[in-house]
């Protein structure tokens, strides 16, 4: 038994990453216009697609250890997937402001010949409670012709991070300007030599 199929889902087919706002306007919702040369049929312009910038075949995911307090050691376990048949994968971690990453695992080098999935544990600590960022970079050295790298960041929560975060909320107040644009006015001092 046949099942009728509209192209409301087809708008999304080709087009992973097509904007949801766009996908709401499927072919069956009036976006279509009759094609003059084919009055018996109705056509639709191809839905917009998202043409992304080139990227190396590297992807990240991660798991956080349980919440740790200030001065304690936490761990992030990264899974780095790559699509190279051989070469060396260099992984580097760096803590954002206030977050210290440490130990031998801060930088590691792994062989890409035998596996495409690489597990990597990074230890961190912070002196104060807060919400921090931990930055990681993966560099794939495959040949001399191409330098492939990709970066990733995770949020790291330490101690009573909500309370600490609220203290760092911007104190500046948005003001409406005469032209209708909202803006934050900051004190400035200029010295001309």
């Amino acid at each position: 038994m046949f099942q009728s199929k509209t192209y409301s889902s087809l708008a999304a087919i080709s087009l992973i990453g097509a904007l949801t706002g766009c996908m709401q306007h499927s072919a069956s919702q009036g976006a279509a216009e009759p094609e003059a040369a084919n009055t018996a049929i109705v056509t639709q312009l191809a839905p917009p697609v998202q043409t992304k910038k080139p990227a190396p075949p590297l992807s990240f995911s991660h798991e956080m250890s349980d919440l740790v307090g200030a001065g304690e050691t936490g761990t992030v376990t990264f899974t780095v997937n790559e699509g190279y048949p051989f070469g060396t994968l260099i992984l580097e971690a760096k803590g954002g402001d206030g977050l210290d990453v440490f130990g031998a695992s801060v930088t590691t080098s792994q062989d890409m010949s035998n596996t495409t999935t690489h597990l990597w544990q990074v230890n961190y600590t912070a002196v104060e409670d807060g919400l921090y960022r931990l930055h990681v970079t993966a560099t794939a050295n495959v040949d001399e012709a191409v330098s492939d790298a990709r970066a990733y960041a995770v949020e790291v929560k330490v101690g009573n991070w909500q309370s600490a975060a609220s203290k760092t909320t911007a104190k500046a107040t948005m003001e409406m300007q005469s032209d209708g644009e909202p803006a934050v006015i900051l004190e400035a001092e200029e010295t001309i030599d």
């Binding site: 889902s9 094609e35 910038k53 699509g83 191409v146």
Partner: protein, 383 residues
């Protein structure tokens, strides 16, 4: 823009929206709501109604570039290669025609031929406009790391990991740049500059083709442009293991490691019996699976007169449970009514078409939507 205006003083650029913020980072689902929150997936070009959600016709959607600005992870506002690459997509979409199906991609992927051409163009266009063959994308802590390659270098190898061919953006970027470049360092027989490339892209014979926009269609067009000879183009294509002739790549022998992807277009005729079409996820990679070589199989149908036809597709081999589907294209529009009717392992369409050539992209939705990747082949018949 000056490079373009130098070859066409009357060029008119439609409005372009560019969204950049220090808060723009990877993530999100591609929706306008997510983008408004800074989650833009990655730097990209698209058409959106984000600024004016009341717009409902895709033709009215605004050309839009999103750029990353995530300090210490990935910023692109100073990465000229990235910005111009995305402008290259704007160029092909607004001044010519792109049939790209979008999505993630890398230099080592074997891609759907429409996507491969579009992305190879983006990379080559960036090099042409910046007069620098090196594509650079800084990232990482203090933007001290990066991703770089030369579009003028021979980065492909039949042994991999970057295989040459009609499905490779790496092959296509080099072919396009070799047509353009000249002078010191030019290591190929063509020194065409930007004029013939611009002429090919903006020729209505190209943008109005009834085939898909691939390297074959472009090669077919640029062979006719002033200052270019067919033998020069053939030599550039041959160097990248592209041997197919004409706008449909007839006789292509490079299957990328998957025999069922050839011929590039399966030619079907009304009453001429079935042809075999297939869909596979074999080339799925770290950048995704729905836009790779073999997911979509191209079919060409030519009718000599207006007539009513029936198209039937039935599974013949491979995965036991499949979800075949297809779209019938008239340039950059596809038929939505009458609708394709489909069910498990089969699909049909009936309607009246005027004389002409129709490009059809066949696919299994399990592969195109990555919901259930599988390999299967089908009979495709027009009666």
């Amino acid at each position: 823009m000056t490079t373009i205006e130098a070859v066409d003083a009357n060029v008119s650029f439609p409005d372009l929206h560019v969204f950049w913020s220090a808060g723009n980072s990877e993530g999100g689902n591609g929706s306008c709501a997510a983008a408004a929150n800074g989650d833009i997936v990655t730097s990209s070009y698209t058409r959106t109604n984000c600024v004016d959600p009341s717009l409902t016709d895709f033709a009215d959607f605004a050309p839009t570039i999103f750029l990353l600005g995530d300090d210490n992870v990935d910023t692109d506002e100073y990465d000229e290669s990235v910005v111009v690459h995305e402008f290259g997509h704007y160029f092909e979409d607004q001044l010519s025609r792109s049939d790209s199906i979008g999505g993630g991609h890398s230099l080592s992927d074997r891609l759907d031929a429409r996507l491969a051409f579009s992305e190879g163009w983006g990379n080559a266009f960036s090099a042409m406009i910046l007069d620098d063959p090196f594509y650079r994308d800084s990232l990482g802590s203090q933007q001290s790391n990066g991703f770089a390659f030369s579009v003028d270098a021979d980065l492909t190898d039949a042994a991999g990991p970057r295989f040459p061919g009609w499905y490779s953006e790496t092959s296509i970027q080099q072919i396009l740049y070799d047509i353009f470049d000249s002078g010191t360092g030019d290591d190929d027989p063509v020194s065409g500059g930007f004029a013939p490339i611009y002429a090919a892209f903006t020729d209505t014979a190209f943008s109005g083709t009834r085939n898909f926009i691939t390297i074959y269609e472009f090669a077919n067009q640029i062979r006719t442009e002033a200052g270019i000879t067919a033998s020069q183009i053939d030599s550039l294509l041959a160097a990248e293991a592209i041997s197919g002739a004409g706008a449909q790549g007839a006789g292509e022998t490079n299957n990328g490691g998957e025999p069922q992807v050839l011929p590039v277009y399966k030619t079907v005729t009304e009453g001429g019996g079935p042809v075999t079409v297939c869909s596979t996820n074999d080339f799925s990679s770290m950048t995704g699976g729905n836009n790779k070589l073999g997911v979509f199989d191209y079919v060409s149908l030519t009718l000599n007169a207006t007539q009513s036809i029936n198209i039937s597709v039935n599974r013949t081999s491979g995965a036991a449970s499949t979800d075949p589907d297809f779209r019938i294209w008239i340039e950059d529009r596809f038929i939505i009514q009458p609708a394709v009717m489909n069910s498990n392992n089969s699909a049909t369409w009936s309607g009246t078409l005027t004389a002409g050539t129709y490009a059809i992209d066949f696919f299994d939705e399990g592969n195109s939507e990555e919901t259930s990747p599988r390999d299967a082949c089908f009979s495709f018949e027009v009666t």
